[in-house]
């Protein structure tokens, strides 16, 4: 990945900096370049003006009125927001309790119905009662859903309108959202490969395998229902949980307010593709009901920060996706200048909002030259609205951006600022602000700032010495190791608190098809069982 792609990720340049979308790692063909001008941010093209009527509504007392509301829409920026309904075991459920989702400027984009815990509990019970489809059917349906997700009009939105909405609401650069659409399509299109790779060698996929005639391990579900408390930082996080569906779990997803549109679209597609209404559910809820969901489901996947990790750390039924705190280590035997593109991309790729983006770079020797060079590269990234074709940096509401900025400035006290020392919130004048990159130099590898992960390209550069060992690298989702020291690699790969090790010139966000992100999800969901039969 060249940093040039980050700077110019316009139409026809390919997906850019995204998990699994590097040239050579993606099996699916690249998407066609989109017609020029499709992404122009003309006023009449604002996302809320493009949202079509809710389709597929079940006949319900309120849906006629809702459809009438929607059909009046589409004319101008004064449209009423899109209605995003819960998708429960009896179809669409238009909750009376609503909350408004705004774009980064504060303009209302959608109203989400929040379901009560009674609905959550009944939905999970219905999921448990539903019989899973056969494996082949499941895989086919997920592949079909992936195509629908990437190409079809779903719940009144075509892919372009969906992508623009995610960009405007989540503040994720449009090019990143587009690339993620293709990434989700590719990853779900090969979901069975992931499962096949995750299955221990020698374990039969099905008890009907002839292997069980003489005795064999067979792969079986640990339980039946799976809940997801989803993330809103990046639409790509939604390419993981469908593996649970592929394994036969029935799945309920609670979306994030920051970006409910990706799971809404994906689940709409999965339902249309054959999972129906009682095998996959979309349950927007308030906080209290999220606990109900975790209690009701057999197993759960929870995204969150340190607070969430503390809350669920002792719950064996919960798989946590906590802070990533990904890092790069460069030893003296390797010249960082040869890898500056990769280091820059690791920090800022896909908007720098991912858990796989680099938070800290450790350099054996003087970190100043690298910090300076990184700052120079990152300073060149343009501050643009998220729907701009050339946008590469994340955008948030101005209030949130200022809060993040204040937090950064407090945490960065006593460090040497190479970029962003005067602040990182670049106001766009419409109530939103771009989070521009920050580079700070630390005095020690174990400085507390080295663990401060923020949702934008924010990197800490620290000196590292052999005496520090791998201690400062513990607790990292990904460690990029630019070193020829095989003994050091041994240690990093053996370290239990490090999720993945990328040795050499690979950005920390690199993900290959069928490879684990934080272990295989299947390790959490499946077990091996001995079966022998006559």
């Amino acid at each position: 990945m060249a940093v040039a792609d980050l700077l110019n990720p316009g139409p026809g340049r390919g997906p850019g900096a995204l998990p699994g979308t590097r040239p050579g790692t993606q099996a699916e063909p690249r998407p066609e370049a989109r017609p020029a001008g499709q992404g122009d941010a003309r006023p009449e093209d604002r996302p809320e003006a493009r949202l079509g009527p809710v389709t597929g509504s079940r006949p319900q007392a309120r849906s006629a009125a809702g459809a009438a509301r929607r059909s009046a829409a589409g004319a101008g920026p004064d449209d009423e927001p899109l209605l995003v309904d819960a998708l429960g075991p009896q179809g669409r459920f238009r909750a009376r309790r609503r909350t408004t989702v705004t774009d980064v400027s504060g303009a209302p984009v959608a109203e989400i119905g929040l379901v009560p815990s009674l609905f959550v509990d009944r939905t999970v019970k219905a999921l448990r009662r539903a019989t899973p489809m056969g494996l082949d059917e499941r895989i086919a349906a997920i592949r079909h859903a992936a195509e629908l997700f990437a190409t079809a009009e779903l719940a009144g939105q075509d892919p372009a309108a969906y992508e623009r909405t995610v960009a405007r609401v989540g503040g994720v650069p449009l090019s990143v959202v587009r690339a993620t659409t293709q990434n989700i399509r590719a990853r779900l299109g090969r979901v069975h490969d992931s499962l096949a790779q995750a299955r221990p060698a020698g374990v039969a996929e099905d008890w009907r395998s002839p292997l069980t005639r003489t005795g064999s391990a067979v792969w079986t579900r640990r339980a039946e229902t799976f809940a997801v408390l989803a993330a809103g930082n990046h639409p790509g996080t939604h390419s993981l949980w469908p593996e649970a569906l592929a394994l036969g779990y029935r799945v309920a997803v609670r979306p994030s307010r920051r970006e409910p549109f990706t799971p809404y679209r994906l689940i709409t597609a999965l339902r249309e593709a054959g999972f129906g209404e009682d095998r996959i559910a979309f349950l927007p809820t308030d906080h209290a009901e999220a606990d109900t969901l975790l209690r009701a489901a057999d197993r759960s996947l929870v995204y969150g920060g340190e607070d969430v990790v503390r809350k669920y750390a002792d719950n064996p039924r919960v798989l946590l996706q906590g802070p990533g705190r990904s890092k790069i280590l460069i030893t003296a035997d390797t010249d960082w200048r040869d890898h500056l593109d990769t280091i820059t991309a690791s920090v800022a790729g896909h908007g720098g909002t991912g858990c796989v983006n680099t938070t800290t770079v450790l350099v054996e020797g003087d970190p100043a030259p690298l910090a300076e060079a990184l700052a120079q590269r990152l300073a060149a990234l343009p501050a643009l609205p998220p729907e701009d074709e050339a946008a590469v940096l994340p955008v948030q509401s101005a209030d949130t951006a200022r809060a993040i900025e204040a937090h950064l400035l407090t945490r960065a006290a006593g460090t040497r600022a190479w970029l962003g020392g005067d602040g990182i919130a670049r106001d766009l004048g419409d109530g939103s602000a771009v989070l521009t990159p920050a580079v700070h130099q630390l005095e020690r590898a174990d400085a507390p700032q080295a663990g401060v992960e923020l949702p934008f390209p924010c990197v800490w550069v620290a000196p590292w010495s052999r005496a520090d060992g791998i201690a400062p690298l513990r607790g990292s989702l990904v460690v990029g190791a630019l070193t020829t020291d095989r003994h050091l690699l041994d240690e990093l790969i053996a370290e239990p608190s490090i999720g993945n090790v990328h040795a050499g010139d690979h950005p920390t966000y690199w993900m290959g098809p069928g490879l684990p992100h934080d272990g295989y999800l299947a390790e959490f969901l499946m077990r091996s069982k001995t079966v022998i039969r006559d």
Binding site: R96, R258, L454
Partner: protein
């Protein structure tokens, strides 16, 4: 001024007095040294107005300070108006939930209990509750006034009341301590007891809190049992959101009459759900005005919000037996025109939607 023991203070529930005339008679009763309670006569000395001359209309109740907190410490005897004589017909002394420190105490007299229950029974008739049924109550008993109202309602509207202890203070402690699983186990303990009653007795009316009802709804065997036997469910004690109410009425208990109440120890009773509302109407509660009155106000200014707008609920109790005006509750509600005169009706009692903490800083999720 006529005798403080004005007959307008003793009207049956279905005879509606002129609210202001009633209010003035009540002020005379509570602040006349011969009939007022020791608590209020003492308290009146520190007021900067004379309730007997200055409180003329319902709006004037806003002049009273909120003395609710003082009910934590006052002697129960000092709360009973002297006009009740030396042997007042006291049903009992009851306490608030006690979630914020020491509980507040009120004294329930027979005349008020009878008026409240007679009015509430008529409301249950309007909701289609069958008369003469056996009732099962999964509600707080002991020091909690709701248990007394349950028994009295069961005895008068129904035939017999079966009860199960529910200690809300312990549940709240468990939840505050993060022991959600223990609170859940307590709810299961209640349901287990309810199942014995439901499966062996002819229960026609179930009185239950929304949270225990939700637990019950999670047990398919109990839902089946309730649908087989129970003709009417009365819920109250905490809020029930409109979506859950819809699910109960349409999916879970489609053939069972369903009626809520919004009560508080500090009003010595509850407001009843207005009859004839559809699922898409807001759930409106009418109090027994002019004795119990609500105002829905902007918490910052204490001014009433417009009809249909959300605000914080101010409750007042003004009856012969008790006076507690101008008490700001923690609940938010929609202001609805009253169907009985003074004060407001309230709808959609609910906490504010928060959905998600938007100020999380560190981390990317």
């Amino acid at each position: 001024m006529s005798s403080p023991d004005n007959p307008i203070l003793d009207l049956p529930y279905d005879v509606q007095p002129d609210p202001d005339e009633f209010l003035r008679a009540a002020m005379e009763w509570h602040f006349n040294p011969e009939t007022g309670s020791p608590f209020w006569l003492r308290r009146a000395e520190t007021l900067d107005f004379d309730p007997r001359t200055d409180i003329r209309t319902h709006a004037d109740l806003a002049r009273f300070p909120n003395v609710t907190g003082e009910l934590r410490y006052v002697r129960a005897e000092d709360l009973v108006p002297r006009g009740y004589g030396t042997r007042p017909d006291v049903v009992g002394v009851f306490e608030s939930g006690g979630t914020t420190g020491a509980p507040k105490r009120v004294v329930l007299t027979r005349d008020w209990l009878d008026r409240m229950v007679a009015w509430s029974n008529a409301n249950l008739d309007a909701h289609g509750f069958p008369r003469g049924a056996n009732w099962l109550g999964l509600v707080p008993t002991g020091p909690h006034i709701v248990g007394e109202f349950f028994r009295r309602s069961a005895d008068t509207h129904g035939s017999r009341g079966f009860t199960i202890d529910l200690d809300p203070r312990w549940v709240k402690k468990l939840i505050a301590a993060g022991r959600g699983a223990d609170a859940g186990a307590y709810a299961e303990h209640l349901l287990e007891q309810a199942e014995f009653v439901l499966s062996t007795q002819d229960i026609g009316v179930l009185t239950i809190t929304p949270s225990v009802l939700e637990r019950l709804a999670g047990r398919e065997d109990l839902v089946e049992l309730v649908n087989k036997k129970v003709k009417a469910i009365r819920w109250g004690g905490t809020q029930l959101d409109p979506d859950s109410r819809h699910l109960y009425r349409t999916e879970i208990f489609p053939d069972i009459a369903f009626c809520g109440n919004y009560g508080s120890t500090m009003i010595l009773g509850f407001a009843g759900e207005r009859a004839g509302l559809s699922d898409d109407d807001p759930c409106v509660f009418d109090p027994l005005s002019p004795y119990v009155t609500f105002s829905v106000v902007d918490p910052a200014t204490r001014e009433p919000v417009a009809y249909g707008e959300r605000g914080q609920v101010v409750v007042s109790h003004v009856s012969k037996s008790f006076l507690l005006p101008n008490n700001l509750e923690r609940d938010l509600a929609t202001r609805i025109p009253s169907d009985r005169g003074a004060g407001d009706a309230v709808a959609d009692i609910a906490p504010v939607a928060t959905f998600e903490n938007e100020t999380v800083i560190e981390g990317v999720y």
